[in-house]
Amino acid sequence: MKSVFVVEVLSLFCFVLLSQVTAKNSEDIRCKCICPPYRDIEGQIYNQNVSLKDCNCLHVVEPMPVDGKDVEAYCLRCECKYEERSSDTIKVTIIIYLSILGLLLLYMVYLTLLEPMLKRRLFGHSQLIQSDDDVGDQQPFANAHNVLSRSHSRPNMLNKVEHAQQRWRRQVQEQRKSVFDRHVVLS
């Protein structure tokens, strides 16, 4: 367990560093100039991807809507801001988020729908061993895996995983009972 967490933490750290170090995509910088209405010229927004030193009205506002003398007055009213973003960070974050969400949904579907089906299929082949641990719960989460695990003899590692998963399921059930049914915690 500990090593898993260390790996997790390190990978998060690397992700953070990476997001800083990723090559600045030329499309990820821009200079945005907002120019308000001036006399009879409408307000306008100008975008260009120039670097910080070129981020001013003269470089960005093209074509210049006013002539020579008024350019200075016009540019005084425009406000130019330099902005940066990292589209790679956004892409990676969204993809990670969607994959975790997808995995969780698949796992949930598996636990609620597929396992009882597998359990029913095995019912015909082996005896249903009642477990005295799960007292009186008919939830699909609890008994099915128990039955599955006892129908074959498995190596130790898998047994450990099964055991841990059983324990986790019991935990979640207890939590669900306190929160949703009895409203004892977190009402």
Partner: protein, 828 residues
């Protein structure tokens, strides 16, 4: 309350060692069920629940002697019974019980003393002691990094998913609306969001974006996405981590005061809370993500504590780290590290030593820095509604600010009462049996009513950011729809607006905002507390910001049309920009948030960190103080304390004054009509008698006296330790039978040769239990409980043992005095 199943189960349960050291997993109690439905103490002498510890082996060096030393507090004593090796079972506590602060702190002191002593012996030991000292800082660094990274991820994902309700980006589905149009040149001054790369659902499905049909398609898609997100959120919470619902701050407050809720800060709760928080926020529900971010940060801290032995084994040290993590949570939510530390100090933490202050600040800074480097908003800002104006304000404006404070206080009191009534309904009636349907109905209601009004359609933080914005010529939103000046020479310096009359756009915005205010006030009451992660900072701030902006615009127009009134004459002349509605919105937001949560210093500091300047401290303080006073007039508790009380957590409020003049003898047990106190004598009882006594009662501990006649106090022994020791002795030690004598003295009395060997239990006894005399006033007793974190305290009279007071007795007594139901204290 009879719970025989529990008692017998405890013997079996003790010898199933858990596979891993993870003590945020629940105890493996074979055959026993945790029954909390009737924790009512029908036999009136029950001094508490059960303290069955999980069978985690402790590997602390010389733990046996340190255990004894920890109990006695007088230095390491030689163990009497050589068979009392580090027994599995000491160190962790059972679910829903309070920790023993005194024991945890002395355990840590002993460990530290031992490391320091050893460090003089060799270089390796010296390095070990140095690394032990630095482990705290390393842990803070890791907590800050992890929480900052998670918060950045949550922000990016929430923005993207929320925009998904409106349309898709064609150049890359992972871009939200703003980033999709980032490089586009098609944006115009009036319509800053329009660009061809972003297609709304109506455009994708029907091909048009105008007309009633497109509007209806957009409306339906919005409702569909909102329902889908809400449904996914609540089913994930229900299936994987039921503890991930709600805000989390009331439970974290209780945990920090010493309560144990296993699994509340575990890895599944962290994963589910992160994922479902994004879903819940994106579904358009009227909730925020600040409270859940505190929970997420505390989960990160709890998980990272497992890497360090010093924090894994000791519950008191772990709570120091959790206090710092709460600061980190608020720091990443608002981009306010100092405000976060003060929030942790004022609202969440119970014991906050100075060392924690410095470390929390460090962790909060690390987290803020991490968040900034991830740059979720694309402009190096940490929060969406950073305010940049520095317009001055005038003393006369204090009157409307105080008015906003009164509004905030009234709103806070009303909200708390309404929300608690609604949550109580959810607890007790049929409404609580259908959590999924409830979430779906509320999400549908919110989506249906919110879509037509553009101010409720946008997310809470966007709304606040627009309301905080000071209008200038560069803005083209509806809220800045003032009438154009007739003469261009009237425009003020730069692009700031002079005061102008309201135009059409502004009037529309005003009535839309008024409707939004009413809607938000009502919908937040039923949204907070649902079975999805929900916070209430943003909705409260939104309510206050709307009210503030309305008042601000009203003042501005009043000043524009009436320049020659007495109150405006001196400072608000024609053509000057004197009133900033954005400032009123800010003050209103602070007032409402202060009214609901009763934060004082932390709120002001958070708000001024948001604005980046000290100009507005006086208005903010005036409004916050007014709102707190007005709200306190209606009820002393903030929303989090009210929820703690609703759930019956054993939280001894540190700020409450105990004003009744009762004495310790009035609160202690046994009362007059009750059977006598169940005690053990230091010698003369057999193993069988002790077992019968323990099994026939439910007390969590027993005082040990010299003899039944003298009732002179020797020490205090916990039920759990007794059971473990007796059980262990029966199995391992030679010759211990029911007739063996149980001996708590240092030297066993002489016995005939054919008598069975005695069972020496001095090592498990606490030789220095806390006592008060029967005439001690209750306020001093309550103070002792608070300051030392006691669970029970013995009462003596003229040096003889009279009774016992537990924390639960105190809580029940306080409930009775305040005319509340004493049976509402469920836990101990």
């Amino acid at each position: 309350m009879e719970n025989p199943g529990y008692c017998s189960g405890s013997f079996d349960g003790l010898h199933h060692p858990s596979d891993d050291d993870d003590d945020d997993e629940m105890v493996d109690i074979a055959g026993a069920t945790l029954d909390f439905s009737s924790t009512d103490d029908v036999p009136p002498l029950s001094s508490g629940g059960f303290e069955d510890y999980s069978t985690t082996t402790t590997t602390s060096s010389s733990s046996s002697s340190s255990r004894a030393a920890g109990m006695n507090g007088t230095g390491p004593t030689k163990l009497v019974d050589p068979l009392e090796d580090p027994l599995p079972g000491v160190g962790t506590y059972e679910d829903f019980n309070t920790i023993d602060w005194v024991r945890e702190k002395s355990k840590d002191r002993d460990r530290h003393r031992e490391i320091t002593n050893k460090s003089r012996q060799s270089t390796v030991a010296l390095l070990h002691s140095v690394s032990d000292a630095f482990s705290g800082w390393l842990l803070m660094l890791l907590v800050g990094l992890m929480a900052g990274a998670l918060a950045g991820g949550i922000d990016i994902a929430a923005h993207w998913l929320a925009d998904m309700k409106g349309g898709v980006c064609l150049i890359g589905f992972w871009f939200n609306h703003e980033h999709c149009c980032w490089t586009s040149n098609e944006t115009t001054f009036q319509e800053r969001d329009r660009c061809p790369q972003w297609q709304s659902w109506a455009e994708l499905i029907t091909g048009t974006s105008e007309g009633p049909f497109a509007y209806i398609v957009n409306y339906l898609m919005y409702i569909f996405w909102a329902l889908l997100f809400a449904f996914l959120a609540v089913t994930l919470v229900r299936a994987f981590a039921p503890y991930a619902c709600g805000s989390g701050i009331p439970e974290i407050k209780t945990i920090l005061s010493g309560f144990i809720i296993r699994g509340y800060l575990g890895k599944w709760t962290l994963i589910i809370k992160t994922i479902t928080l994004v879903l819940a926020v994106s579904s358009g529900l009227s909730l925020g993500k600040e409270g859940p971010l505190v929970h997420v940060a505390c989960c990160c801290a709890n998980i990272l504590c497992h890497l360090f032995t010093k924090y894994r084994k000791n519950e008191a040290k772990r709570r120091e780290v959790l206090s710092a993590a709460a600061a980190v949570g608020v720091s990443v939510a608002f981009g306010a590290p100092i405000g976060g530390v003060l929030f942790s100090l004022e609202e969440v933490s119970y014991y906050f030593p100075l060392k924690t202050l410095w470390r929390s600040f460090f962790a909060a800074l690390v987290a803020a820095f991490t968040l900034r480097s991830i740059n979720p908003f694309g402009n190096s800002r940490l929060v969406l509604f950073y305010v940049e104006f520095h317009a001055p304000w005038h003393l006369v404006e204090l009157a409307p600010f105080i008015l906003l404070g009164i509004f905030g206080g009234l709103w806070g009191a009303l909200f708390i009462k309404a929300n608690i009534a609604w949550c109580r309904k959810r607890k007790s009636t049929i409404l609580g049996h259908y959590p999924v349907i409830e979430v779906l109905v509320v999400a549908a209601l919110t989506a249906i009513i919110a879509y037509p009004n553009s101010y409720t359609r946008m997310s809470g933080s966007e709304l606040i950011s627009e309301l905080f914005n000071d209008c200038s010529l560069l803005d083209s939103s509806q809220l800045c729809g003032y009438k154009q000046p007739t003469n261009t020479s009237e425009t003020g310096a730069g692009n700031s607006l002079t005061d102008r009359a309201a135009g059409e756009g502004l009037y529309t915005a005003l009535w839309q905002l008024a409707l939004a205010l009413v809607f938000k006030m009502m919908i937040t009451v039923i949204t907070f507390g649902m079975k999805v992660p929900s916070g209430l900072f943003i909705p409260s701030m939104a309510v206050g910001a709307i009210a503030g902006r309305l008042l601000g615009v009203g003042m501005e127009q009043l000043a524009y049309y009436n320049h020659d009134w007495f109150i405006f004459k001196g400072w608000c002349s024609q053509g000057a920009d004197c009133i900033t509605p954005g400032l009123y919105a800010m003050v209103g937001a602070a007032a409402c948030l202060g009214g609901v949560t009763r934060m004082t210093v932390s709120l002001v500091v958070i708000m001024f960190e948001l604005t980046g300047g000290l100009e507005y401290i006086v208005p903010l303080m005036a409004a916050t103080m007014t709102s707190k006073w007005v709200a306190d007039a209606f009820g002393r508790e903030g929303i989090y304390e009210a929820h703690i009380r609703l759930n019956g957590y054993p939280f001894l409020e540190a700020k409450e004054e105990f004003e009744h003049s009762s004495l310790a003898v009035d609160v202690m047990r046994p009362r007059r009509a009750d059977p006598a106190l169940a005690v053990l004598t230091q010698e003369g009882m057999t193993v069988g008698e002790v077992e019968t006594l323990v099994e026939s009662t439910h007390y969590s501990g027993f005082p040990v006296v010299v003899s039944q006649e003298s009732q002179r106090l020797v020490g205090f022994v916990l039920r759990r330790d007794l059971l473990i020791s007796i059980d262990n002795a029966r199995k391992r030690q030679e010759g211990v039978v029911s007739a063996s004598q149980v001996v708590f003295t240092e030297h066993a009395p002489t016995q005939p040769d054919d008598a069975p060997p005695p069972l020496r239990l001095r090592g498990i006894m606490d030789l220095s239990p806390f006592t008060v005399t029967d005439h001690t006033p209750m306020d001093i007793t309550v103070d002792i409980f608070r300051k030392l974190g006691l669970r029970q305290c013995l009462v003596t009279h003229n040096g003889r043992l009279l009774g016992i007071i537990t924390k639960k007795d105190i809580l029940k007594h306080m409930a009775q005095i305040a005319n509340r139901d004493p049976e509402s204290i469920l836990f101990n």
